[in-house]
């Protein structure tokens, strides 16, 4: 399937198309125009109980346009890339912009700030593109089989899925920026299932998963290891039960710790600030977390999942500390939110095909601590080790945090029995300030990543009502 390969020529072609559309938009009457073009292809191979369940293979291309005219904006997109269709899109966009109201903050960035080169961050592996459906199916089969073989209590499966995406992105602006890059990403996830008859009156299924992912084929874990780890994690949840409502220590496994780090960004960005939608408003430079907490957004890590050479405004990307030893640093901004707050962009603009740019993260990483995970657990007398979080119980305006959780009960430094159907709650400000131990088990498998860490206490809601 070498036909899937994304070449430098493809990137060049997309850059040309983006530049052409900028020209067409200006001809149609736009004062300024910004054009994003994406070309992507996917291959998904899913197996269940050893048999193929789905093979999906396709490519697509789309173009997003933003025009500015007399300070007014319109955003449009299409997958019809014929020249006459693009001309029509440009004309319609300009007409549409006339209905908007002028927004002085929406001007394009100062051309002097635009990126002048596109660094090669080694984000594309041709070997990922060489994979065909048959090979992908074999990987998925191997991963699932390893899980089922590992433990007889794995009685069913939600399958094994091997997938890859390949893509090229190009961006051009009337301010003079043009650039593009390509990327690859491959992953395998295995999802075993067990029957849990611990409670005979209410038998349940228990599901779990494990995964591997990388931009580079050779960096993926072996399917056998993925399957075995998936089986271990699933079987361990057999007999899960509620515990009593109480205050206790909460230890976050890296799989959920990263969602806490993602929540930090949701209230530490320029957009939530100018919208007054963040409880952190006005707290830059202040201690907002335990001194053990340092979170850095780093787009420059070679081969990393969230790396990118320029941002959605065409500015160079750069390393931005978000929280440094507990202190909130200047929040991540794109050009627009920066202007709204009277400051410069941090080069953090993200942009989708059909939308305005807004602040986003690249590789958002909580830095590791000095304890091993085993030491951290051994040092925890009683509490909950959380492996799963459910729901969306976070209010960015107030910081109120309440989410469903599952994991394992910790007693005298050891994981004892599995726990589910409980919630953990506290104000997010308290959660961050109560982090009292950070482990050294950081892995950069996902764009947002964190090591295991512990919050000294939160409210766990389970059985028996409070008085």
């Amino acid at each position: 399937m070498s036909g899937a390969q994304v070449t430098e020529e493809t990137v060049k072609e997309l850059c040309d198309l983006a530049q052409l559309t900028v020209e067409l938009a200006k001809k149609a009457g736009a004062d300024d125009a910004e054009v994003l073009v994406r070309d992507g292809s996917e291959l998904t191979a899913k197996v269940r109980l050893g048999e193929p369940e789905l093979v999906q293979e396709a490519g697509s291309r789309a173009l997003g346009l933003r025009v500015l005219r007399n300070g007014k904006r319109a955003v449009t997109y299409t997958s019809d890339l014929r020249r006459e269709a693009l001309e029509a899109l440009c004309a319609e966009s300009v007409t549409l912009a006339d209905f908007a109201e002028p927004d002085e903050y929406a001007r394009p960035p100062d051309p002097r700030l635009l990126a002048t080169q596109v660094p090669d961050l080694d984000l594309y592996d041709p070997r990922v593109a060489e994979v065909d459906a048959a090979w992908a199916l074999r990987q998925a089969i191997a991963g699932e089989a390893a899980a089922r073989k590992h433990d007889a209590r794995v009685t069913n499966s939600e399958g094994g899925t091997w997938s890859r995406v390949l893509g090229a992105t190009a961006f051009a602006t009337s301010g003079g920026f043009v650039g593009g890059y390509r990327g690859s990403y491959a992953s395998l996830v295995v999802e075993p299932l067990c029957d849990d008859t611990t409670d005979a009156t209410n038998p349940k299924k228990r599901n779990g998963y494990w995964w591997t992912a990388s931009r580079f084929l050779a960096e993926l874990d072996d399917p056998d290891e993925v399957g075995q780890e998936a089986a271990r994690r699933t079987v361990a949840t057999l007999g899960s039960r509620k515990v009593e409502t109480q205050e206790c220590a909460i230890v976050f496994d890296p799989e959920v710790a990263r969602s806490i780090v993602g929540t930090v960004f949701s209230v530490a960005n320029g957009s939530s600030f100018w919208r007054k939608s963040s409880y952190l408003l006005g707290k830059e430079g202040e201690l907002i977390a335990s001194p053990l907490v340092t979170i850095i957004d780093d787009p420059t890590i070679r081969r990393a999942p969230g790396s990118k050479p320029f941002d959605g405004d065409g500015l160079p990307t750069r390393i931005n500390p978000v929280v440094e030893r507990g202190v909130l640093r200047p929040v991540l901004c794109d050009v627009y939110s920066g202007r709204k707050l009277g400051r410069e962009s941090t080069g953090s603009a993200g942009r989708g095909i059909g939308g305005n740019p807004g602040p986003t993260t690249t590789n958002l990483v909580m830095q590791k601590g000095t304890l091993t995970r085993a030491q951290l657990l051994a040092d925890t007398k009683r509490g909950l080790y959380v492996t799963n979080l459910m729901g969306f119980g976070f209010n960015p305006v107030t910081g109120d945090f309440s989410r469903g959780a599952a994991g394992f009960w910790i007693e005298n430094g050891e994981l004892t029995f599995p726990v589910s159907e409980i919630t953990i709650a506290a104000n997010f400000d308290e959660i961050l300030k109560r982090i009292d131990a950070v482990a050294d088990d950081l892995e950069l498998r996902s764009a947002t990543a964190a090591p295991t860490f512990r919050v000294s206490h939160m409210t766990l809601a389970g059985t028996s009502a409070s008085a």
């Binding site: 789905l54 093979v55 997958s79 209905f99 919630t423 389970g462 409070s466």
Partner: protein, 486 residues
Amino acid sequence: MTTTLPAALRAPFGAGGASAIDAQLANRLLGLALDAGGDYADLYFEFRVSADYVLEEEQVKTLGRGITLGLGVRVTKGDATGYAYCEDLSWEKMAHAARTAGQIAAGGGHAPIGVGALASVTTPSFYAVPAPSLMMPAQDKLALLRAADRAARAYDPRIVKVETSFAEAIKEVLLFTSDGRMATDVQPMLRFGVRAVAEDKGKRQSGSGGGGGRYGMEYFADATRDAAAHGREAARIAIAMLDARDAPAGEMPVVLGPGDSGILLHEAVGHGLEADFNRKETSNYTGQIGKPVASPLCTVVDDGTIQSSRGAINVDDEGYAGRTNTLIEKGILVGYMHDRLSAKHYKIEPTGNGRRESFRSMPLPRMTNTSLLGGTDDPDAIVKSVKRGIYAKRFSGGQVNISNGDFVFSLSESYLIEDGKLTAPLKGVNLIGNGPDVLRRVDMLGADFQLSDGIWTCGKDGQSVPVNVGTPTVRIASITVGGTQA
């Protein structure tokens, strides 16, 4: 009723369009798809035009518009699916997609099966909109945004920020199947939303309002849901929540208000009754047909035929007409929601629940409008019956684990019940429970059934589809409330 659309909103694959697809051409493509030995194939052509308008800081900030066009080709062999799509309706690209999807059957089985003559499926009409909102001038929609903004600000001087949005789309689909069915549908959708932030003495809270469905602009003619009403509702919640106090933690009785609370039902039982999970024996409702799975008070229905509702479908994305399907009758599980694949497995008729996000995705069993039907209790009497508990009025969302049935819901507006009266508003809190457990604990059901206004979007396997939910006032004897006051 027929709708006459202007050229810009008409699908290019329709009769007279630039890439008109007729039965003969569809037959050829289906033939190619089945060439490698598949059992069944279908073609799903989709054309979608959407627009959105956002008002923020009393200014119309951005207008957006998008066009999507494409073809999805599916081939099945046994339980296996091959799927491919293209965005370019040239013969070469469509034929490539058909052959790629057909590869799922490669190397196995029989000679290509013939494709039957294609006959149009008769479809009902649950959302005949004489004039889709996309045909109406942009100024009309901007006027709605301004009206909602003004109403929210006028509600209380403590409202410091208002965002209003209007999103509209029209989607035309054209379907052909190798078992001889041909269907077409035009699906309008609009959604209006308001978010207000209130500030007082250093405290900030937000509230949301909104609604919509498969309507044209006539949606706003009803004064209970015009733009200003949605604006006031968002402001009311934001102001009410300024006084919110920390919620309790632990198990206690919960009363669900009518309408929005249906989201609890959607998560607690709805997903577990989608037949794919049961066919694969991964749901905790597997093998439970004919057995009690809820309190005898509970009758749960998934109904794709509710006029103009956000979840209504004339025809599902596999060419089967939308239907009313009873899932739980007086506490007994009577049926699942099916797509073609699961219906074949269970040897029954598809139930009209095969839905997909777009031509880029294969259909799955999905909900449409899912409701817990009303009972006989007086809603006030239900609240009065609770000594200490929670009254849940508005929800912001939920999630379920299909396998073990555990679910969570986020409450965006709730109150403490003390001695049968609503007292203090509570800060945002989650409820967590287990689907079968919670439905067994339903012990009072109001006579005030209400459908939620159309705001819900359901996600499954990375695919989003519009749905709706409904309930009467419901009392649950006990459920875990995830507050901070242990």
